[in-house]
Symmetry: D3
């Protein structure tokens, strides 16, 4: 019988991460620490993100703000900016969140985060353009 | 003629900060650095929060997440948790945001933030109860 | 049937935390966020600390070093310094770990951590002296 | 024969710390870790601050800026703000340094630092007033 | 009529940033967030750096110390080390500031900052040599 | 007469750093700041690591945990993971320490540290394999 946490976690990961674009943060560690992927899926997404009292779109905004303010996790910020777009946040809205971070964590945190956002938005637009051209 | 930034900043501060509860973070510094209150009102609220591309309720969630993750600004977190309640976030939703921070900034950040939230919620409930009892 | 994680987590908590001394970090949050205690017991202690590849005494040293270096979690550092003594680290050894942190996180981190250690050691000695006087 | 580092360190400490006001950061740790005071005097002040290529007044400004930006060492910041006044920085100049920190570390860092500065300046003025009244 | 903040900010930027060398930190973000350059010029330089109570050379030392201690903004540290040289700080003095940071933020912060300073100094010397060879 | 600190520091460095593998963190700074290497050897290793009350293997675990939790010193973490292997910590044990860091500093800190550990382990295995093939 499947663990409920695992099922829920996998489902939430599907909702957050696009099937393209999102960097595979844990992929390179799969052989060295096979349990890590399971822990992140089951605990982070299956136990925490899965809690019903807050919707996933709001959770994603909180994660983007937290990672931008911490200013030391570029890969995770990139992955969650993709997730934020996928869950319906607009590019203009995400830019505002990252600008606002300057007030609490300083301008260098904002500048780093916006530089990552620029990459994410460019990849996102390129994919969308490509997707629309498929006949 | 009043500076537009000042007017907008003051208006946003009114929307975020309840007239009770919110700690007056800048009050004690008013005599030493009179410009600080002006800078925060005009720049932080009049120039950044006032930008139209993101609604104030979402901005407040981002601020709460950022301050909880940074884990070194208890006074500001307290003030913005009051603001988050005032702008319509439910207590249960804010608890979720703070729990989620554990994934990115560790459990001590979450525990500190929830301890502050507990104080804020208690003061908020006490005031609301008192307000309802006024005939 | 009891969840294995919960049983293991509770057992490890018993090994780390003395029945006196250790501050009850999560106690004040029990009413507001009842799940937090469960999450910490089941995930932090039942899933992570319980992994067999590293002994508990070494894990405790790593936690003390991490918390001292992060320099923003005095309550958790206090609790884990108690745990470190309980698991067999000597006071002199813990002092060395905290001194060494100065090289990586600066002297203020070391000074804060040693100030907390001083409190922990005093409480620990007072209890041990009291315990020995029981006829 | 006295260690040169020790002599130099003690001399620099005399120049930085006023004989009143400055909190005795290391005092409470003297019994637990007697070597700490020696290490700080000999290494921090006797080996680093004593290097001739930068004057002590500029060093003090750098320390105040670093501690304010790190935003987790209130005791050390307090001690070094006293030192900065003693070495000739004016109150208005120190306020400017702390305001500027907001750009790099966010407003909460600035607000904390200014709150500490307010205390330091008040104690400093009280002492100076008292000193002048001595006939 | 030009905004005074903008004029002052632009003038201060001219004084800090050499016309060569200084990395254009905000350049890559100009298309995505055109307002950012304006905000940084008008607020950071036109409102904060422009305040008269502290000279620009001292401000630059504070910024270098803060960024080195925060240890997460290599691009901004590089830009402000160029600025520090332009405003008259000697290479030997800047090395001292960065060494001193080890006491408060640990040796890794100092090592990162000195590695950036090495690059800055090399580029600075190369340019100066080239400039002198122009007949 | 050689300084005792220098002799002890050099001896400890020999014990921690393998003669291959360990990145030469200070090497590139040797010409710019010749004293830095001396300071690190004499103070960090000759005065702190050399203190007899804690064995070198435990010290190395504390350093790895501290650097992983701080999450901003990849080069130093790499060097000390090599040192940890050299001093007898097993790869599986180090993986556990880095996983545990997630509880205190968040998953991004753990993921960064494990990514560095993966590199270290691969280089270590390659060297050991090569060494065994020498007839």
């Amino acid at each position: 019988m499947a663990d409920d946490r695992s099922t829920r976690g996998a489902e939430i990961l599907r909702q957050i991460h696009s099937d393209w674009g999102t960097p595979n943060v844990l992929g390179p560690l799969e052989e060295l620490v096979p349990d890590l992927k399971v822990i992140v899926r089951d605990f982070a997404f299956g136990e925490i993100y899965a809690r019903p009292a807050l919707d996933l779109k709001s959770r994603q905004l909180a994660t983007v703000a937290a990672l931008a303010a911490m200013h030391n996790a570029p890969l995770e910020l990139k992955a969650h900016l993709f997730g934020a777009l996928k869950l319906g946040w607009k590019k203009e809205e995400l830019i505002e969140v990252l600008l606002q971070i300057a007030l609490y964590a300083g301008f260098p945190a904002t500048i780093s985060a916006l530089t990552i956002a620029k990459e994410v938005f460019a990849e996102y637009d390129a994919r969308n353009t490509a997707a629309k051209q498929v006949p």
